[in-house]
Protein backbone atom coordinates (compact mmCIF):
# COMPACT_ATOMS: atom_id res chain seq x y z
CA UNK A 1 0.00 0.00 0.00
CA UNK A 2 2.76 2.41 0.96
CA UNK A 3 4.68 1.59 -2.18
CA UNK A 4 1.64 2.32 -4.36
CA UNK A 5 1.22 5.83 -2.95
CA UNK A 6 4.87 6.60 -3.52
CA UNK A 7 4.53 5.46 -7.12
CA UNK A 8 1.46 7.75 -7.58
CA UNK A 9 3.38 10.81 -6.33
CA UNK A 10 6.15 10.18 -8.79
CA UNK A 11 3.66 10.19 -11.68
CA UNK A 12 2.37 13.66 -10.84
CA UNK A 13 3.24 15.87 -13.81
CA UNK A 14 2.27 19.23 -15.12
CA UNK A 15 -0.97 18.77 -17.06
CA UNK A 16 -1.25 21.36 -19.80
CA UNK A 17 -4.86 20.44 -20.77
CA UNK A 18 -6.64 21.69 -17.58
CA UNK A 19 -4.43 24.78 -17.61
CA UNK A 20 -5.53 25.54 -21.18
CA UNK A 21 -9.15 24.87 -20.12
CA UNK A 22 -8.91 27.47 -17.36
CA UNK A 23 -7.31 30.01 -19.68
CA UNK A 24 -10.01 29.43 -22.29
CA UNK A 25 -12.76 29.94 -19.71
CA UNK A 26 -11.16 33.24 -18.66
CA UNK A 27 -10.84 34.25 -22.32
CA UNK A 28 -14.50 33.41 -23.04
CA UNK A 29 -15.50 35.45 -19.97
CA UNK A 30 -13.66 38.52 -21.26
CA UNK A 31 -15.03 38.09 -24.77
CA UNK A 32 -18.58 37.86 -23.40
CA UNK A 33 -18.40 41.01 -21.29
CA UNK A 34 -16.71 43.00 -24.06
CA UNK A 35 -19.27 43.31 -26.84
CA UNK A 36 -18.48 44.86 -30.21
CA UNK A 37 -20.32 48.04 -29.31
CA UNK A 38 -18.23 48.54 -26.15
CA UNK A 39 -15.09 48.29 -28.23
CA UNK A 40 -16.28 51.14 -30.44
CA UNK A 41 -17.36 53.20 -27.44
CA UNK A 42 -15.54 56.42 -26.61
CA UNK A 43 -14.31 56.52 -23.01
CA UNK A 44 -14.28 60.37 -22.98
CA UNK A 45 -18.06 60.50 -23.09
CA UNK A 46 -19.74 60.85 -19.70
CA UNK A 47 -22.83 58.68 -20.12
CA UNK A 48 -26.11 59.40 -18.29
CA UNK A 49 -27.27 57.16 -15.45
CA UNK A 50 -30.33 54.89 -15.71
CA UNK A 51 -31.03 52.17 -13.17
CA UNK A 52 -33.79 50.43 -15.17
CA UNK A 53 -31.99 50.19 -18.51
CA UNK A 54 -31.53 46.71 -19.94
CA UNK A 55 -29.85 44.83 -22.75
CA UNK A 56 -32.04 44.65 -25.84
CA UNK A 57 -32.26 41.57 -28.04
CA UNK A 58 -29.12 41.10 -30.13
CA UNK A 59 -29.23 42.35 -33.67
CA UNK A 60 -26.60 41.98 -36.36
CA UNK A 61 -27.39 45.24 -38.10
CA UNK A 62 -26.50 48.11 -35.84
CA UNK A 63 -24.54 51.33 -35.94
CA UNK A 64 -23.01 53.07 -32.94
CA UNK A 65 -22.86 56.85 -32.69
CA UNK A 66 -20.65 58.63 -30.15
CA UNK A 67 -22.12 62.08 -29.48
CA UNK A 68 -19.66 64.55 -27.93
CA UNK A 69 -20.69 67.84 -26.38
CA UNK A 70 -17.95 70.23 -25.35
CA UNK A 71 -18.17 73.99 -24.66
CA UNK A 72 -21.40 74.42 -26.61
CA UNK A 73 -20.21 72.49 -29.65
CA UNK A 74 -21.36 69.06 -30.67
CA UNK A 75 -19.81 66.44 -32.88
CA UNK A 76 -20.74 62.87 -33.79
CA UNK A 77 -18.30 60.07 -34.53
CA UNK A 78 -19.39 56.96 -36.41
CA UNK A 79 -17.04 54.23 -37.69
CA UNK A 80 -14.01 56.45 -36.80
CA UNK A 81 -15.39 59.29 -38.97
CA UNK A 82 -16.23 62.59 -37.24
CA UNK A 83 -19.15 64.77 -38.26
CA UNK A 84 -19.53 68.35 -37.09
CA UNK A 85 -22.08 69.08 -39.81
CA UNK A 86 -24.95 66.66 -39.25
CA UNK A 87 -26.31 67.03 -42.79
CA UNK A 88 -23.42 64.79 -43.91
CA UNK A 89 -24.34 62.20 -41.26
CA UNK A 90 -27.57 61.19 -43.04
CA UNK A 91 -25.65 60.25 -46.20
CA UNK A 92 -23.21 58.15 -44.19
CA UNK A 93 -26.07 56.37 -42.40
CA UNK A 94 -27.97 55.71 -45.65
CA UNK A 95 -24.83 54.10 -47.10
CA UNK A 96 -24.37 52.07 -43.89
CA UNK A 97 -27.98 50.83 -43.83
CA UNK A 98 -27.85 49.87 -47.50
CA UNK A 99 -31.61 49.43 -47.86
CA UNK A 100 -31.96 46.90 -45.02
CA UNK A 101 -35.33 47.10 -43.29
CA UNK A 102 -34.19 46.19 -39.77
CA UNK A 103 -31.42 48.37 -38.47
CA UNK A 104 -30.65 49.70 -35.01
CA UNK A 105 -28.89 52.92 -34.08
CA UNK A 106 -27.14 53.08 -30.70
CA UNK A 107 -26.64 56.60 -29.35
CA UNK A 108 -23.84 57.09 -26.82
CA UNK A 109 -24.23 60.73 -25.89
CA UNK A 110 -22.67 62.90 -23.23
CA UNK A 111 -25.11 63.61 -20.38
CA UNK A 112 -24.77 67.39 -20.84
CA UNK A 113 -25.83 67.34 -24.50
CA UNK A 114 -28.93 69.52 -25.04
CA UNK A 115 -32.11 67.92 -26.42
CA UNK A 116 -31.94 69.97 -29.64
CA UNK A 117 -28.68 68.22 -30.65
CA UNK A 118 -30.02 64.75 -29.77
CA UNK A 119 -33.11 65.55 -31.87
CA UNK A 120 -30.88 66.43 -34.84
CA UNK A 121 -29.10 63.07 -34.50
CA UNK A 122 -32.46 61.30 -34.33
CA UNK A 123 -33.68 63.23 -37.37
CA UNK A 124 -30.63 61.90 -39.25
CA UNK A 125 -31.69 58.36 -38.21
CA UNK A 126 -35.27 59.01 -39.37
CA UNK A 127 -34.00 60.31 -42.75
CA UNK A 128 -31.88 57.16 -43.12
CA UNK A 129 -34.99 55.01 -42.40
CA UNK A 130 -33.70 53.68 -39.06
CA UNK A 131 -36.76 53.37 -36.81
CA UNK A 132 -35.07 51.48 -33.95
CA UNK A 133 -33.06 53.88 -31.79
CA UNK A 134 -31.54 52.96 -28.42
CA UNK A 135 -29.78 55.18 -25.90
CA UNK A 136 -26.83 53.98 -23.87
CA UNK A 137 -26.70 54.62 -20.13
CA UNK A 138 -24.65 53.32 -17.22
CA UNK A 139 -26.13 51.54 -14.22
CA UNK A 140 -24.53 53.86 -11.63
CA UNK A 141 -22.12 56.83 -11.33
Amino acid sequence: MRMRRHHHEEDLEFQIAPMVDVLLVILVFFITITSASTLQGDRNIKLPVAANAMKPAKTVNEVLLNVHWESGEGKVSVDSVQFTDLSNLTGHLIARVGGRTTYRMIIRADRTTPARYIQKVMAAAANADIPDVVFTAINHD
Binding site: V49, I106, A115, R116, I118, Q119
Partner: protein, 143 residues
Protein backbone atom coordinates in the same frame (compact mmCIF):
# COMPACT_ATOMS: atom_id res chain seq x y z
CA UNK B 1 21.93 13.05 7.24
CA UNK B 2 20.45 12.13 3.86
CA UNK B 3 22.43 12.77 0.75
CA UNK B 4 20.99 15.43 -1.52
CA UNK B 5 19.03 13.84 -4.35
CA UNK B 6 20.04 14.86 -7.86
CA UNK B 7 17.56 17.33 -9.41
CA UNK B 8 14.98 15.62 -11.57
CA UNK B 9 15.16 16.41 -15.29
CA UNK B 10 11.37 16.35 -15.76
CA UNK B 11 9.38 19.51 -15.00
CA UNK B 12 6.98 18.86 -12.14
CA UNK B 13 3.56 20.39 -11.58
CA UNK B 14 3.53 22.72 -8.56
CA UNK B 15 0.00 23.01 -7.20
CA UNK B 16 0.75 25.75 -4.63
CA UNK B 17 1.58 28.61 -7.06
CA UNK B 18 -1.33 27.54 -9.26
CA UNK B 19 -3.75 27.89 -6.32
CA UNK B 20 -2.09 31.24 -5.45
CA UNK B 21 -2.75 32.56 -8.95
CA UNK B 22 -6.36 31.35 -8.92
CA UNK B 23 -6.97 32.97 -5.54
CA UNK B 24 -5.49 36.28 -6.74
CA UNK B 25 -7.71 36.15 -9.85
CA UNK B 26 -10.83 35.41 -7.78
CA UNK B 27 -9.92 38.22 -5.35
CA UNK B 28 -9.40 40.63 -8.24
CA UNK B 29 -12.77 39.82 -9.85
CA UNK B 30 -14.60 39.94 -6.51
CA UNK B 31 -13.15 43.39 -5.71
CA UNK B 32 -13.74 44.82 -9.18
CA UNK B 33 -17.26 43.38 -9.67
CA UNK B 34 -18.91 46.06 -7.52
CA UNK B 35 -17.19 48.94 -9.30
CA UNK B 36 -17.96 47.76 -12.82
CA UNK B 37 -20.11 50.24 -14.76
CA UNK B 38 -22.26 48.30 -17.16
CA UNK B 39 -23.51 49.95 -20.30
CA UNK B 40 -27.20 49.20 -20.81
CA UNK B 41 -29.78 50.41 -23.28
CA UNK B 42 -33.09 52.29 -23.27
CA UNK B 43 -35.15 51.79 -26.41
CA UNK B 44 -37.32 54.15 -28.36
CA UNK B 45 -39.01 54.03 -31.74
CA UNK B 46 -39.11 56.69 -34.38
CA UNK B 47 -42.37 57.19 -36.26
CA UNK B 48 -42.41 54.87 -39.27
CA UNK B 49 -44.30 54.93 -42.53
CA UNK B 50 -47.91 53.73 -42.31
CA UNK B 51 -49.03 51.16 -44.87
CA UNK B 52 -52.20 52.27 -46.66
CA UNK B 53 -55.20 49.99 -46.22
CA UNK B 54 -53.86 48.41 -43.03
CA UNK B 55 -55.91 48.85 -39.85
CA UNK B 56 -54.05 50.81 -37.17
CA UNK B 57 -54.77 50.43 -33.46
CA UNK B 58 -54.82 53.84 -31.87
CA UNK B 59 -52.90 53.73 -28.59
CA UNK B 60 -53.53 55.65 -25.39
CA UNK B 61 -51.03 58.49 -25.52
CA UNK B 62 -49.52 60.65 -22.82
CA UNK B 63 -47.20 63.54 -23.64
CA UNK B 64 -44.39 64.27 -21.18
CA UNK B 65 -42.71 67.66 -21.49
CA UNK B 66 -39.17 68.24 -20.29
CA UNK B 67 -38.26 71.85 -19.58
CA UNK B 68 -34.82 73.42 -19.89
CA UNK B 69 -34.56 73.70 -16.09
CA UNK B 70 -35.12 69.94 -15.77
CA UNK B 71 -38.78 70.07 -14.74
CA UNK B 72 -40.84 67.14 -16.02
CA UNK B 73 -44.47 68.04 -16.77
CA UNK B 74 -47.34 65.64 -17.43
CA UNK B 75 -50.89 66.98 -17.84
CA UNK B 76 -49.80 70.37 -16.51
CA UNK B 77 -48.35 68.94 -13.30
CA UNK B 78 -44.64 69.01 -12.41
CA UNK B 79 -43.32 65.64 -11.25
CA UNK B 80 -40.43 65.07 -8.84
CA UNK B 81 -37.48 67.39 -8.27
CA UNK B 82 -35.13 68.27 -11.09
CA UNK B 83 -32.11 67.62 -8.83
CA UNK B 84 -32.70 63.88 -8.44
CA UNK B 85 -32.41 61.19 -11.15
CA UNK B 86 -35.05 59.06 -9.44
CA UNK B 87 -38.61 59.88 -10.46
CA UNK B 88 -40.88 57.92 -8.07
CA UNK B 89 -43.98 60.11 -8.64
CA UNK B 90 -43.75 59.89 -12.44
CA UNK B 91 -43.07 56.13 -12.32
CA UNK B 92 -46.14 55.58 -10.13
CA UNK B 93 -48.35 57.67 -12.46
CA UNK B 94 -47.02 55.84 -15.53
CA UNK B 95 -47.68 52.47 -13.85
CA UNK B 96 -51.31 53.51 -13.25
CA UNK B 97 -51.57 54.69 -16.86
CA UNK B 98 -50.17 51.36 -18.06
CA UNK B 99 -52.65 49.47 -15.91
CA UNK B 100 -55.65 51.47 -17.15
CA UNK B 101 -54.54 50.95 -20.79
CA UNK B 102 -54.30 47.22 -20.16
CA UNK B 103 -57.82 47.23 -18.68
CA UNK B 104 -59.09 49.11 -21.74
CA UNK B 105 -57.23 46.63 -24.01
CA UNK B 106 -55.23 49.41 -25.68
CA UNK B 107 -51.50 50.01 -25.97
CA UNK B 108 -49.93 52.58 -23.65
CA UNK B 109 -47.76 55.08 -25.48
CA UNK B 110 -45.61 57.91 -24.16
CA UNK B 111 -44.36 60.78 -26.27
CA UNK B 112 -41.43 62.73 -24.86
CA UNK B 113 -41.41 66.37 -25.84
CA UNK B 114 -38.22 68.05 -24.60
CA UNK B 115 -37.51 71.77 -24.87
CA UNK B 116 -34.44 72.51 -27.05
CA UNK B 117 -32.17 73.21 -24.07
CA UNK B 118 -33.41 70.35 -21.88
CA UNK B 119 -30.45 68.25 -20.66
CA UNK B 120 -30.03 64.77 -22.15
CA UNK B 121 -29.71 63.28 -18.65
CA UNK B 122 -33.29 64.40 -17.94
CA UNK B 123 -34.54 62.67 -21.13
CA UNK B 124 -32.84 59.49 -19.93
CA UNK B 125 -34.46 59.93 -16.47
CA UNK B 126 -37.90 59.99 -18.13
CA UNK B 127 -37.03 57.01 -20.38
CA UNK B 128 -35.82 55.17 -17.28
CA UNK B 129 -39.13 55.91 -15.58
CA UNK B 130 -41.00 54.55 -18.64
CA UNK B 131 -38.84 51.41 -18.49
CA UNK B 132 -39.68 50.99 -14.78
CA UNK B 133 -43.40 51.28 -15.63
CA UNK B 134 -42.88 48.69 -18.42
CA UNK B 135 -44.13 51.03 -21.14
CA UNK B 136 -42.84 49.63 -24.42
CA UNK B 137 -43.94 52.32 -26.89
CA UNK B 138 -41.95 55.47 -26.25
CA UNK B 139 -41.44 58.02 -28.97
CA UNK B 140 -40.15 61.57 -29.37
CA UNK B 141 -41.69 64.71 -30.72
CA UNK B 142 -39.27 66.42 -33.07
CA UNK B 143 -39.07 70.16 -32.48
Amino acid sequence: MRAKEPQSDTMQFQIAPMIDVIFILILFFMCSAGAVKTEMFLSTTLPGRAVAGKAIKIPDEQIIEIHANGNVVLNGRVFDTSQSHDMPQLTLTLRRFMESSRNNKTEAMVTISPQPEAPYQRIIDVLDSCAAAKIKIVTFSMG
